[in-house]
């Protein structure tokens, strides 16, 4: 009986003490701080890719605090929340963090297409911008409908278009695409399905045969997919994987002797954790670059000096990797949006709504990018009320067994093809959700 009493007491005290802790207010924050929530995944099937991104994003913010004392004297405070790439956990993290700090969250950057979709429904009500650098709903480029989404630098449709352009260049012209077979091996989730629409349009336009081959989450079982590829012998395979799926795909391609240099991964399938586990089999594998690749630039020297020298960094072992650098860019765009907004609203902690204005008026010119230490990683980006993407460029790099080598110049996605799609799908979304598109000509 005593044991049962004990069990009861354990259960009750666990719940009560937990409740007490959760409900008691967290550490009080000073009034002069800007809160930046960080949804991360450092555990689970996608952790190998989630960790470097989270490290980069965190190190850049720490660097701003250490070097400049924040943005214009406003200290940046961040808090991580582990989502494990799960949508419901991501929503819980969002609810937990959105109200923290003197003015609430500045912006959210979930690094998960699924969480982005869920938060797209919630962000307008809370007036908090969503920064999705290189992922998320492709049609959210249309800022008139998706007022709170910023699909910075590139969407999956941009990526699909650039991949086809690169294939055309390798073949020697768009006319050579006719009759060719291009297959897409994709993660069977909103993330992997996004490019299909753009690729179908391109297939019709350029006359190649397009086939989409799904891989079930988390993507460790791909035998049948690659057997189908061996039978079908497509000229190119596009890879839209994430986490452990990427290296598995490369290994399976090697097992069926599909040439790796005919595989082109999206920019989420082109980082070190994707190729290193596959060892020599990954040699020759190509992937898109979200403009930047791996390597160290001026900003890295700053981080080395201001963060690591003081023993504050979190990402030493991922320093300069592709996804680490993408984390830097993610935080760069978010913090520059805050800086832009401060120029209008004053040097104080800003609300999500004010930060949105900062995003919409953010203009990263080549000179400014150089000043920030990102020269060589980024081309100019300019957001506006209508255009929440800001850039359309990408490159291709190839893994030589040791490091990523850039093998192409900048491609620019064809907006003549993509813009009508953005308009069509965002109009459909607006109709479904009964959203009246904003009139951007009236916004300052």
């Amino acid at each position: 009986m005593l044991r049962k009493t004990l069990a009861f007491a354990t259960a009750a005290s666990a719940v009560l003490s937990g409740a007490g802790i959760m409900l008691s207010a967290g550490p009080a924050m000073a009034q002069n701080e800007q809160f930046i929530p960080r949804l991360v995944y450092r555990t689970g099937a996608y952790a190998p890719n989630g960790i470097p991104f989270a490290n980069g994003a965190a190190d850049y913010i720490t660097m701003l605090n250490e070097r400049d004392g924040g943005i214009n004297g406003i200290k940046l405070v961040m808090e991580e929340c582990e989502t494990g790439y799960a949508t419901d956990k991501g929503v819980e993290c969002y609810e937990r963090l959105k109200g923290k700090g003197p003015t609430g969250a500045a912006y959210f950057s979930p690094l998960s297409t699924g969480i982005t979709f869920a938060l797209t429904e919630k962000a307008p009500g809370d007036k908090i911008p969503l920064l999705t650098t290189g992922y998320g709903r492709s049609e959210s480029r249309n800022g008139a409908v998706f007022a709170w989404n910023f699909i910075a630098v590139g969407s999956y449709w941009t990526a699909a278009d650039i991949a086809i352009q690169h294939i055309a260049k390798e073949l020697g012209g768009f006319d050579k695409l006719k009759g060719k077979k291009i297959s897409l091996v994709y993660h069977d989730s909103p993330y992997g399905k996004e490019p299909i629409a753009a690729l179908e349009v391109r297939a019709k336009l350029n006359g190649f045969n397009f086939k989409a081959i799904p891989v079930t989450h988390p993507g460790v079982e791909q035998k049948s997919q690659w057997l189908a590829i061996r039978q079908d012998r497509p000229d190119y395979v596009l890879l839209w994987g994430w986490g452990v799926m990427n290296s598995t795909s490369i290994k399976e391609a090697a097992a069926v002797a599909y040439p790796r240099d005919k595989i082109i991964g999206v920019w989420w399938s082109g980082a070190e954790p994707d190729v290193i586990p596959a060892g020599d089999q990954a040699k020759g594998y190509k992937a898109l670059m979200l403009q930047h690749g791996a390597g160290q630039f001026a900003v890295h020297a700053d981080i080395e000096k201001n963060v690591y020298a003081k023993g504050q960094g979190v990402g030493k072992d991922t320093f300069g990797q592709v996804l680490y650098n993408r984390g830097l860019i993610d935080s760069l765009i978010g913090t520059e949006a805050i800086r832009t907004a401060q120029a209008k609203f004053g040097k104080k902690p800003l609300t999500g709504e004010e930060v949105r204005w900062g995003f919409e008026n953010l203009n990263l010119t080549a000179a400014r990018i150089k000043e920030l230490g990102f020269e060589g990683m980024l081309a100019p980006i300019k957001f506006s009320c209508e255009d929440h993407q800001g850039a359309d460029q990408g490159r291709v790099h190839q893994w030589d067994g040791k490091e990523w080598k850039i093998i192409s110049d900048f491609y620019t996605a064809d907006r003549k093809i993509l813009d009508p799609m953005v308009a069509e799908y965002s109009a459909k979304y607006a109709a479904e959700k009964k959203i009246t598109p904003r009139d951007c000509s009236k916004e300052k």
């Binding site: 044991r3 049962k4 004990l6 069990a7 009861f8 354990t10 259960a11 666990a14 719940v15 937990g18 409740a19 802790i21 959760m22 409900l23 008691s24 967290g26 550490p27 991360v40 450092r42 555990t43 952790a47 808090e79 991580e80 929340c81 582990e82 494990g84 949508t87 419901d88 929503v91 819980e92 609810e95 937990r96 109200g99 297409t113 699924g114 979709f117 869920a118 797209t120 429904e121 919630k122 009500g125 709903r137 492709s138 069977d188 989730s189 909103p190 993330y191 399905k193 996004e194 299909i196 629409a197 799904p214 079930t216 989450h217 979190v314 799908y425 979304y429 479904e432 959700k433 009964k434």
Partner: protein, 375 residues
């Protein structure tokens, strides 16, 4: 002393058969319901502790209520009728996607016979209930094997339902209205022209559903049909010899259970997530629901609530403990610790009380009756 029914005489059959025959229970329940229906919305409205922000409502109470509803559904099948099911996630998905289809308009082109089926978009309430109905129909279909196979073999058959519907909602584009990403958005929550939008309204909506279905479930399991289910659970051959039809009893348990789980799925999608993909109803969800029922107590409506609270809320609480105490450990260590602590607690609780929280609760009540003068 406080909790003693001495002197409470039952003078009518109705009093004898009441859901809560003890007066103190009734008073406690009324207070709880008043607090849930009036107290919490008031606290939230005036932003008083502990509902100062809408975090409590949106991230804790709403998912708790919906999952508790689903756990009630699973408990009817697993706890009362003894049919192990690993397909609850699939039935939630069926509820969610059917409600979505009814809410956005159904269109089935039947070109080969030159006609088509067209249903205009329905309001949200009928959509959710029809979602439950579709789930019930599929539940009956997948319950058929239970007439032949038992125990773990049946669990495998329901697992088939789980994987089949994961596949269907991923691959059959018709269900997602041909959305390019395969992710769908819930329609506006409009009830009789009234828009349910704020967290308080959403919470009340879930609370109404949960209260109603908990009441219905409680009455079902007390009545004729519930006794049939329990007889089948305890020994199906003996039950059959006593004149209980296994076909009717088992399939009705599958139908009622799937209906409730389906409604919970529709609520999960419409009210909590707002936008979802099949991964929201994966095998993980099925197992989560099954654990809720086992830890809460098989064959207990109250246990469903306790189990849902434990499985859903405990990890969220544990996750926040180190940060709230100001312990500087990284998020990945915290989330791994949460797994370890939750797992260890589950093992410990099941060792000391294999019958779950509901049993602990009834022991506590027994003790309270004797307090302060135990034998």
């Amino acid at each position: 002393m406080l909790y003693r029914e001495a002197g409470q005489f039952k003078t009518s059959y109705a009093a004898d058969m009441a859901i809560f025959p003890i007066r103190q229970d009734r008073i406690a329940l009324i207070i709880l319901l008043l607090f849930a229906f009036i107290g919490i919305p008031l606290l939230a409205h005036f932003q008083l502790w502990p509902l100062g922000s809408d975090y409590m409502l949106r991230a804790i109470l709403i998912p708790f209520l919906i999952l508790a509803l689903a756990a009630i559904g699973v408990n009817i099948l697993v706890g009362y009728c003894g049919q192990i099911s690993l397909g609850s996630g699939a039935f939630m998905a069926i509820g969610a996607y059917s409600a979505y289809k009814f809410g956005t308009g159904v269109h089935i082109p039947l070109e080969f016979i030159g006609t088509e089926i067209k249903i205009a978009p329905l309001p949200v309430l009928p959509s959710i209930l029809l979602g439950g109905l579709m789930s019930a129909i599929v539940g009956i279909l997948f319950g058929m094997p239970s007439l032949r196979i038992k125990g773990l073999y049946l669990a495998v058959a329901t697992l088939a339902a789980q994987f089949f519907f994961d596949w269907v909602f991923l691959r059959v584009k018709w269900f997602t209205n041909y959305a390019p990403s395969g992710s769908v958005n819930a329609p506006e929550l409009s009830f009789f022209g009234y828009l349910v939008h704020s967290p308080i309204e959403r919470y009340l909506l879930c609370l109404i559903f949960v209260t109603l279905f908990a009441l219905i479930a409680k009455n079902l399991v007390r009545g004729n049909i519930g006794r049939q289910w329990m007889a089948i659970r305890d020994m199906d051959i003996a039950a059959e010899l006593m004149g209980i039809r296994p076909l009717y009893a088992k399939l009705s348990a599958f139908a009622v259970s799937s209906f409730i789980v389906g409604v919970a799925g529709a609520l999960w999608a419409f009210v909590y997530l707002g936008s979802w993909e099949p991964l929201a109803f994966s095998i993980d969800r099925s197992l989560q629901l099954l654990f809720m029922v086992i830890i809460g107590g098989l064959g207990s409506i109250l246990g469903s609530f306790l189990g849902a609270a434990f499985i859903l809320i405990l990890p969220i609480l544990l996750d926040q403990v180190p940060h709230a105490l100001g312990v500087p450990i990284s998020v990945e260590t915290v989330s791994l610790l949460v797994f370890i602590v939750t797992g260890a607690l589950i093992c410990y609780l099941l060792i000391v009380e294999p019958h779950g929280f509901a049993r602990l609760w009834s022991i506590a009540k027994e003790k309270l009756r004797l307090w302060p003068f135990p034998y």
